[in-house]
Amino acid sequence: MTDTHHKESFWRKYIFSIDHKVIGIQYGIMSLLFLLLGFGLMLVMRWQLAYPDQPLPLLGWRLSPDMYNSFGAMHGTIMIFLGVVPVITGAFGNYLVPLQVGACDMAFPKLNMASFWCYFVGGIVMLSGFLLPGGAASSGWTSYPPLSVVATTGQTVWLIGMVFLITSSLLGSSNIIVTIVQLRAPGLTWMRLPFFIWAQFVTAFLLLLAFPPLEAAAIFQLMDRLAGTSFFMPSGLIVGGAATDWAGGGSPLLWQHLFWFLAHPEVYVLILPALGTVGEIIANNTRRPLWGYKSLVYSVIFLGFMSFIVWAHHMFLTGMGQTMSMFFSVTTMIISVPSVVILSCLFISLWGGSIRFNTPMLFALSFLPMFGLGGLTGLPLGLPLSDIALHDTYYVISHFHYVVAPGTIFAIFAGIYYWFPKVTGKKLNEVLGKTHFLFSFIFMNGIFFPMLIQGLAGVSRRLADGGQSYAHAQHVIHYNEFMSMSAWLLGLAQLPFILNIILTLIKKKDKVADPNPWNSTTLEWACPSPPIGHGNFEKEPVVYRGPYEYSVPGHKTDFSPQSEKLGEK
């Protein structure tokens, strides 16, 4: 497998590239920018929560309640559909899956390019909502009808953008599955796959099978808005004191079922690749095999299956009936078992290892308790009785942010620090990295822990003034200012990260000549850093052993790469 050195035009090489590495980087840059934008919206909203109705500093304008709604809806949408999922499946998946299975590219390079450009167009279409009269979508990232059907044009744009994003994820996920099934290097049997690959594999199935019902729902909602159908519009609906034109007979609950049928598996799309990333980094930095590899794999597969039958635990408040609530509450309790198995395996992996506390490892280590906190606070939400009290409070906000923000996003940071040398051939600076870690860790908790307290006190989420006007909120309302300060400081804490990337990229001589700076075993480190243009590997890799053979007794180094022949010492 040698590089065919024909000259490619600039457009083919960097813009409409069909090389999985370039597409991965494109995904990475775009989605990190989206993450920053979604975070920026929240920083503005936090001003409104801390100091209601006061003009924003520097900008001078006041965030109206309508704009607050719009910012909130777009914060959720951008963070999930345009930020976290594209980083973790689009960027990490695209760049690393072919490398870790020893393939020269994804199975369908052109579809891969189409996937990125669908994502790009979807993102732009969705953002264009901000320019419309009436502003961007404002019905929450969940877009519950009938509110979303009578909302301003921003919602139409949101739905069209969504259809593009669904198409993008369909192309991307089927590509990842085919790559893993068909392009594994010789000798790379299923039980020799790195845990990261297993996580990506299950995630791709979730994206493939859970998104289409949302596409159906998006089409229905578009029809309700544009063609006047009543899929989600009940009979006798009064809006603003006047009867509406819809014929009625539809069901708003139908949207919630179709939406959560996607959106619950989507939670596992957010978390599984993060667990995979953390698993890789923990094995590498404890210098010992992952504890319970097989139980990790089976748990991930079981999680994937179960995630399709828990969706209605988001709907206990809708009055859908005891039987339904009972069923979904039981499945929700069951799904927590494999999650605990995975987390326990990762914790036990630390025991007896000689841990290297570098930046990726620090992020990965702090992922464990943060994700644990997110998971444990989820248990009361899985039981209808306690959920009714907690569901519409800040408790829920805190719960899922603990899973996604100091959970998945920390795993993303860990992954970026860990694989940066593979992508660029240069290691990120450790001092800046550790600064980034320390302050991010403190301020993340500064934002989300007080929310648990507020939520237990019954402070309602979704209020543009943060609940100022409620008597029961008065003794916890002062946390709003503290949380906002933490959020802004968290923003500042990202500066070392951005600075680190820029400084490392412009420094010329910092090349690590070693393609394997972390002394890792998996296949992505068996090719040069960065991997060669088309084809990745200098010669086709052959796999002789499992993914995590660290500290094998009698071996001359403390790691035995998968591509190293048996018996070679």
């Binding site: 089927s174 289409p212 019902p213 069901s251 049928f261």
Partner: protein, 197 residues
């Protein structure tokens, strides 16, 4: 650089890449139509006025004819693939041409049905049965149009691959055929669910 298993089968999975790819795509299509059908079921069961929505306005004979046309096109689609396996490009062109003809026939009959509904003042916004009818058959029709685009390409400009990589071209027809059978199958579910039940 050559991506392996584009035309030859991978020994341990017994598949070439595109075949696995199309099955995954069809799995996601099953979920799409699954979502649409379950929405139909839920709306129908929860609406006490459903019986008054005029399901009998639909034209059953025309839809039966359309079912026959679509099933015929599926048969000719298989025949065109078999012809390639037998190295007979002439027959391939004949059968692929017939497939395309049937697909256009389906669209024309559908057009007649739609326009007669519109002329009677029956629109998607009229009631939820018509909304379901138009959205489900409309999405199916988009799939038919997609199939025409793909098959039309293999009938016309795409055929030149036969001269350079006949094996791969045959695979492409097989994959396009799998998609086409799926479109046919969706109609076989739509027809009784909307017109008869």
């Amino acid at each position: 650089m050559e991506i392996p298993y584009n035309e030859e089968l991978r020994p341990d999975t017994g598949l070439y890449n595109a075949k696995l790819g199309i099955w995954l795509f069809l799995a996601s299509e099953v979920m799409l139509f699954g979502g649409l059908f379950s929405a139909y079921i839920m709306l129908r069961l929860s609406d006490p006025n459903w019986a008054s929505y005029g399901q009998d306005a639909l034209n059953v004979p025309l839809a039966t004819l359309n079912t026959t046309v679509l099933i015929t096109s599926s048969i000719t689609m298989v025949m065109s693939w078999v012809s390639l396996k037998l190295n007979d490009v002439k027959k391939y062109k004949l059968y692929m041409g017939l497939t395309l003809l049937c697909s256009f026939g389906f669209l024309i009959i559908k057009y007649i049905e739609y326009s007669s509904k519109f002329s009677h003042g029956l629109f998607p916004s009229t009631n939820n049965f018509l909304a379901v009818y138009f959205v489900l058959t409309g999405l199916h029709m988009l799939h038919v149009i997609g199939g025409i685009v793909v098959n039309g390409y293999f009938f016309g400009p795409g055929l030149k691959m036969w001269n350079t990589e006949p094996e791969r071209f045959t695979n492409r027809i097989e994959v396009a055929g799998l998609y086409w059978h799926f479109v046919d199958l969706v109609w076989i579910f739509l027809f009784p669910a909307l017109y008869l039940l």
